[in-house]
Amino acid sequence: MTAQLSPPTRSSSWTVRLRDRITGLVPPGEALPDHQPEYVASWIYVFGVLTLAGLVVVVGSGVVLTIGGVAWWHVSTLGHFVNSMHLWSVELFFACMVIHLWGKFWMAAWRGRRTMTWITGVVAFVASIGTAFTGYLSQSNFDSQWISTQAKDGINSVGVGAWFNVLNPGQMLLWHVVLLPLVVGAITVLHIVLVRRHGVVPPIDAEQGD
């Protein structure tokens, strides 16, 4: 019973393969770069990270709201404040994301093998709309009732009302605080990794070495 364990080869160890895969996602030094090409010194390049900052505040205020519950903001000034912070950070998040989208669209940001970067951005945008929609349905007020009754016919017309019932506030709340944030978070991480992997898209008329 003195079987000797030989060290695993690089190809046989899944941890090594996973580690190599993770470290190879972005070029060395590009995960958190400390310098950028000269053309990045423009305000239009700021709105991507502003969107990310907005998302951080959205998630943070949302986490606090989950502690108090959906009715907290009706009965507490602190709850009302956190709820308002959640709403307005969402407004800024979407405004920055749309300006970021406009900038990247007119820049044709899918150039240079950046197609998946563009597509993950589009998916993040659509998933964010769904997350905001379920948030409006979770306000626990007349507004959420109005929106849900107006939305049910549209949802039913595309045949998903049996699985996504906008008249079920419990289901909508769980989609809002669990499922869709996971989707938005995962897509956002993938989007950022792709941006760091392929680099920030240069302007159309940028010269090599700018």
């Binding site: 590009e30 950028q36 090409p37 000269e38 010194a41 305000w43 240079g112 007349f142 992997r197």
Partner: protein, 89 residues
């Protein structure tokens, strides 16, 4: 339910409704088939203005910002990496 109870219930409901809804309907802009609230239109116009300013206003108050000048680029093992070269991979 007596008439008095019904009246009290109705008043309570009205007070809740009035507290949760605006006193006046919103202002809307009509242009053919397009109908948009003045608030939403204003937000869209502000976003367009911010977008144009973000393109036109130079970063750093008009000063030339040489982001490569300081600190010097840190070359990774195996050679320099050209960030944002329009098709690194």
């Amino acid at each position: 339910m007596t008439a008095a109870t019904e009246k009290v219930t109705g008043m309570a409901l009205m007070s809740v409704v009035s507290a949760g809804t605006p006193a006046e309907p919103g202002h809307y802009v009509q242009w053919g088939v397009i109908s948009i609230s003045l608030t939403n239109l204003s937000i869209i116009l502000i976003m367009i203005v911010v977008f144009v300013l973000a393109i036109l206003v130079p970063m750093g108050g008009g000063r030339h910002v040489d982001v490569h000048a300081d600190p010097p680029p840190r070359d990774p093992p195996g050679g320099p990496v050209d960030a944002g070269d329009g098709g690194r991979r």
